[in-house]
Amino acid sequence: MNAINFPANQPPDRISASIVPKMTARNIDVFYGAKQAIRNVSIDFSREHVTAFIGPSGCGKSTILRCFNRMNDTIEGARVTGEIRLDGVDITSPALDVVQLRARVGMVFQKPNPFPKSIYENIAYGPRIHGLAASRADLDGVVESALRRAGLWDEVKDRLKDSGTTLSGGQQQRLCIARAIAVDPEVILMDEPCSALDPVATAKIEELIDDLRGRYAIVIVTHNMQQAARVSQRTAFFHNGAMVEYGETSMIFTNPVQARTKDYITGRYG
């Protein structure tokens, strides 16, 4: 898997060569109809670190995130070219079973979107369709451990039969994270998971991300730079559909190489 060579015009990337990559993307272009949303992006990320994608609105950071679990397939007119590998295996081929890919690469969305079913059913659905639990007791165990890992168990253990939509916004988002965890993925993609939440709920999610680090490869898209600085160890900065710079979070925020990165993090635009 290390045989993949980086293209010559790769922007400053102090990371990809230095890590054991969980996922690798090479020369990704994404088109929505005739409009190009992503231009020639190549990036690796590892399991050890939380990777943050930052950039101004419309820069394509969510679009590139949705390439990693092929969610762009569901958008009419979207076309992705390039190569993406999970543990060295190409996931872009049409022959690949996206159902299995999405079990290995979970996703949490910007707006909390629990199923309008019970809290229990929200967690149990994924394990059930993938046949991860042999018995009812087994499934109960999966649900409990997912809720515990998402730090939600103590708050909901007495109301598992209540609808997931009765929870507060922050609880709903942690329920969505628990739902993603329940199918035991290897990667969790988070698309601005805190943008609809208040600061207290945001702090809880950030703690949770920190707890989950190392167990899952986590990629978080955020336009809150403080959040990127708090939760991530690696940060990629995107602008106009291209990756401008990718480095250790501390370096990106204190000593960026690119002028555009510097302008963005110092609030010149964005």
């Binding site: 969610m71 999405r102 969305f109 979107n113 199923f115 994924g126 369709i129 199918v183």
Partner: protein, 415 residues
């Protein structure tokens, strides 16, 4: 930057006269709009009240009928030979009035009495049997007797017979069970609605069995799976157009396809149901597509992101949420099918069927067609039957709509 332009405007004076005038105008137009809305509501309510009032006024008497007391001697000879018609005629002739006063079908009551109690044979009993229609109408006060005989619609002989019967205490009014349990008849006093109601039931059963699954699956495919291209656009436009096609066209289609091409039996609920299914299908497809399209995309994303296939996403998450809307649309389509007359006339369901339908391929008629046939009948007695049948049809419709609301609330609570 042009220095001539001040950065700040003068502060707005909210108490200026012009602003107060604008405010008053805004309030006035709002009041006017509310009044107009209330007026529209009132007008609609008035029409409804008028409709219900006239139908109930004309139809309420259709649920009652007059009976004549006839003294019948159940002689063993007549009973053994099954000559109840003759027995009835002889007994009616013995009444102290001139002319026919009992219904042509009154003998059925004698046969039923003997069947229920064989010990009657050889005995003499007073039997209450249905009166003839003109006597019945006279008893209900449907004629203006102040008018001359020629223009009031009933002969002097009938009036005299009615007066004599009433004076002899041989006339009474009661609930007309025959109307609810009988079928079409040439005599208004014997005509009933059950045959047509059963015909409607069988027809609607076929309609829903075909239109609901086909419509919902077509909607799911179009909405969730079909690629967006010129062909699906064409199909969408066609479905929308089909929903607006006059129903009689579907009758012609049913006639051409089911009767002439497929050779299915005429006047049968099977063909009626198939024809109405064609008519209802686009309504269900459109309602189901709208309901499926209204399910929030977040739920689809969530299901896909935990690795559900598209089929699982649709059946586990999208469909349960869309079900209340789909059911509402389906019941509206069914209610329309229940009230439909024109296409059924073309496939022969306007035939006179004097018996309840014995199956899906047997001749039958349906409620609205029965109403149409009765309203078309020259006999005066069918006026009240027509309105009474409309009351039955409206009650069935109200029942169906209530069912829709109950089902929708049930599924909404579960979702």
């Amino acid at each position: 930057m042009s220095p001539a332009r001040p950065l700040l405007r003068e502060p707005t004076d909210w108490s200026a006269a012009a602003l107060r005038v604008r405010l008053a105008r805004r309030h006035r137009s709002e009041r006017l709009f509310r009044l107009a809305g209330l007026g529209a509501l009132l007008l609609a309510g008035l029409f409804l009240a008028f409709l219900l009032f006239t139908i109930i006024r004309d139809g309420a008497s259709g649920f009652r009928h007059s009976e004549v007391a006839v003294t019948v001697t159940f002689d063993p000879q007549s009973v053994r030979s099954g000559d109840y018609v003759g027995l009835m005629q002889r007994s009616a002739r013995a009444l102290p009035v001139a002319g026919d006063v009992v219904s042509e079908g009154a003998w059925v009551a004698l046969r039923e009495a003997v069947a229920a109690d064989p010990a009657l044979v050889g005995q003499t009993r007073t039997m209450w049997v249905p009166a003839r229609s003109s006597i019945d109408l006279l008893a209900k006060g449907k004629f203006d007797l102040a008018q001359p005989a020629l223009s009031r619609g009933v002969s002097d002989a009938d009036v005299a017979a009615w007066r004599a019967l009433a004076a002899a205490g041989r006339l009474r009014q009661g609930f007309n069970l025959d109307f609810l349990t009988g079928s079409a008849s040439t005599s208004p006093e014997l005509a009933g609605i059950w045959g047509a109601a059963l015909g409607s039931l069988l027809t609607l059963a076929i309609t829903i069995a075909i239109a609901f699954p086909v419509g919902v699956f077509a909607a799911i495919y179009l909405q969730e799976f079909a690629p967006r291209n010129r062909w699906t656009d064409l199909i969408e436009v066609s479905i929308n157009n089909l929903a607006a096609v006059p129903s009689i066209i579907f009758g012609l289609l049913g006639l051409a396809v089911f009767l002439n091409f497929a050779g299915l039996p005429r006047s049968a609920p099977l063909v009626g149901g198939l024809t109405l299914a064609l008519m209802t299908l686009p309504v269900i497809v459109i309602a189901a597509r709208a309901a499926i399209g209204a399910v929030s995309p977040g739920v689809r994303d969530a299901a896909l992101a935990v690795g559900a296939s598209r089929l699982q996403t649709v059946f586990d998450h999208v469909l349960p949420q869309a079900l209340p809307g789909i059911l509402t649309g389906t019941i509206i389509g069914m209610a329309r099918a229940l009230g439909e007359t024109a296409p059924l006339l073309l496939i022969g369901m306007r035939a006179f069927v004097a018996d309840v339908p014995h199956g899906l391929a047997a001749p039958a008629t349906v409620l609205p067609v029965q109403i149409f046939l009765w309203s078309d009948d020259a006999q005066r007695g069918f006026i009240e039957k027509t309105s009474a049948a409309i009351i039955v049809l409206l009650l069935v419709l109200v029942l169906l709509n209530s069912l829709a609301i109950v089902l929708r609330n049930h599924f909404e609570r579960r979702a």
